[in-house]
């Protein structure tokens, strides 16, 4: 930075095109949504696909830069302030996600209390077997990711990789089971308030499982490539926190949507 030595550990990046590229992607996606909902379905779908491609491309590039920077910095003794910034950032991001779900849960509880019978008698509710198995899957994945983390801390990278693989595989299985459940449900999102709340909650949760799974896959790939050290593996931890968050939301969902009403 302009030639003289900087006397702080903060990292000030150079200008970057990737944030505005992702903005463009998000903007195109939104215009596509409008078109899909109200005007031309074809134009809408095209814009949505284009927007998503631009968005994902921009994000991938952006994250590649981040990873390259952390590699260039090395994984030994990173500046403490940078590590802290990342940690704070991830924690507050999860707080915002938690509040997003809190809104939907609030709506769910309101509607639950508001309706005289819940589930409504015209709804053929889903059996609890599959969600119970899914609960076990997510809880197990919570164990495997912790196992992987401990293996990494102990320096046993092979084991860390194995358990990381198991974790995201469990995520994929969860998603497949959920897709199976959706395909066989006797009610849909437009079957009154029950269908609305059910699909909104499980749908957004499923999307978060998908995002978490992708994060874990990236963590796995980075483990394979030799990133991270015993002491410094922020990305690994961030993915694990996110995964635990997704896990906790699911437990809430399982209890309040599947178990308690029936």
């Amino acid at each position: 930075m302009a030639g003289h030595k900087q006397d702080h550990d903060f990292y000030i990046p150079n200008s970057s095109i990737w944030p505005p590229v992702t903005c463009l992607g998000a903007g195109l996606f939104m215009f596509g949504m409008v078109s899909l909902l109200k005007f031309s379905s074809f134009a809408g779908k095209s814009l949505i696909v284009l927007g998503l491609l631009v968005l994902v491309f921009g994000m991938v590039q952006w994250f590649r830069v981040l990873i390259a920077e952390s590699r260039a910095r090395g994984f030994v003794n990173p500046p403490r302030v940078l590590d802290l910034a990342n940690r704070y950032g991830m924690v507050f991001f999860i707080v915002s996600e938690l509040m997003f779900f809190a809104g939907f849960f609030a709506a769910y509880f309101y509607i639950y209390g508001f309706n005289l019978e819940w589930p409504p008698s015209n709804i053929e509710t889903l059996a609890a077997h599959l969600p119970a198995i899914n609960t076990l899957i997510l809880l197990t994945s919570g164990v495997t990711i912790t196992w992987s983390h401990h293996a990494l801390i102990k320096g046993n990278r092979a084991e860390a990789r194995k358990f990381m693989f198991a974790t995201w595989l469990l995520g994929v299985v969860f998603l497949l089971f959920q897709a199976y459940e959706y395909a066989h449900a006797a009610f849909s999102i437009d079957s009154g308030a029950y269908g609305s709340t059910f699909y909104m909650l499980t749908g957004f949760h499923g999307f978060h499982v998908f995002v978490g799974t992708v994060m874990l896959m990236v963590a796995h790939a980075r483990l394979n490539r030799g990133d991270f050290t015993k002491e410094n593996h922020f990305y690994f931890e961030a993915a694990a926190w996110y995964w635990h968050f997704v896990d906790v939301v699911w437990v809430g969902l399982f209890l309040f949507v599947y178990i308690i009403p029936s």
Binding site: F10, F39, G192, S196
Partner: protein, 545 residues
Amino acid sequence: MSHTAVANNAHTSPKKKGFLYYLTTVNHKDIGAMYLVTALAFFFIGGLMAMFIRAELMAEGYQLVGQTITLMDLGFWQWKVSFGPDFFNQMTAMHATFMIFFAIIPALLGLGNYVVPIMIGSPDMAFPRLNNWSFWILPFAGMLMLGSFLVPGGANAAGWTVYPPLTNAQYSPGAGIDMWILAVHLAGASSILGAINFIVTILNMRAPGMTLFKMPMFSWSMLITAWLQLVATPVLAGAVTMLLTDRNFGTSFFNMAGGGDPVLFQHIFWFYSHPAVYIMILPAFGIISQVIETFSRKPLFGYATMVWAMAGIAILGCLVWAHHMFTVGMDPRAQIVFMFMTMFIAVPTGIKIFNWLATMWQGTLDFTVPMKYAIAFVGMFTIGGLSGVMLAIPPIDYAMHDTYFVVAHIHYVLFAGSFLGIMAGIYYWFPKITGRMYNEKWGNIHFWLTFIFSNLTFFPMHFLGLMGMPRRIPNYHPMYTDLNLIASIGSFALGAVQIILVINFFYSKKHGKPAGDNPWGAKTLEWSVSSPPPEHNFEKMPVVK
């Protein structure tokens, strides 16, 4: 001082700054300035909508609604605009929308972005690229919002509160509401990620010795505001998502027939939108604290109580949302709880008002333009706060709900509060941002005209409301004519005099007197560096004792 200034100037080598530079910049000062310019543009867009509303309400009967007006007549070619019956409704909804999401919040975030990192001794924000994202998503949100005027059915005509069932597919079939929702999603994402950035910056990037309780009050206000944005905005995103699926995918969250309830929307919406008022006022509190402190030549009176008062307002502010909904038929016990919680906010707010007065007490007051704005803020915001206490009382609210009294209240809070606060901040930091002084004489003229005309515009609305005039209705009983005429004249003048601000700033930016590092003799860190500050703010990390 001159020595450092020279060194700093040598450091910031002049370079050509084109569109690509601003598109990709990650510098908090560039981004802050872009926020401010964008907010200014949207202030005028939102202001024009207010002008339409006031023109319609200037006299009884219909002035503009249902009329076709010829803007230009060249004989062979005419430029005509016609206003459909719901255009007035679109104006009331979109005036609020633009002012809240695209003018006031970005203006405050812009000031925060520019000033806070320097104030706390940091070279930039914690996540500079994310900061760029938070800004550049706004033009897309703005395009969606503005674009909604062009689609069949026009923009959102159901109020900025977008209550169902009025916003159901049945009653608002056009794309306007959908575009409104998606634009709010984008603006909300910007707000949430911006909030994370502010919180992490302030928690993590303070200079050595700058403990939390040594931070200037503006930094505190941005920290607390960011916290509110972080917890409240995702809930708004959820609320409008449910509205979107109700409209387009057959869900029944707010649909009685399917087992939902429109009142649920109001609960979730106001869980965001009451705190949103604090998102728009707490940074103004911070600005006012800096300005009064500087121009009273005294440290802020009761610094710690100021911080706790602000935190108290933020916490209580999350627990009072239902005072907007007394008329929906809520349980009276709940109404009493929400009434007391709301009135209780007057306690920390009162602490702040008295602390500002105590700071000025026996101070060596320097009546610069920002100080005049700050003093006007204290007086006028108090009026808005007191009318808020009145509206918090359910029996009074039953009578006042949806009348012009509410409009008067909210404008004393958001115009006399947020806008005057923003003005105080802009005049205060203008020399720092541009390196030049604004024209004092025209600044004073702008202040006095704004002060007079804003009261002329908004004060009569209290009486109109007490007389029972409903808001959001383009026509009214003849007994409301005189006061409406006064309010309309006031508002046209108020809008027109803002041109002075623009001319003053764009002229002074180039031709004003050089400001020097610290024209105000202020104590905070941003005044210890050159004006404008060097690219990364500090040559040497400042150490605070």
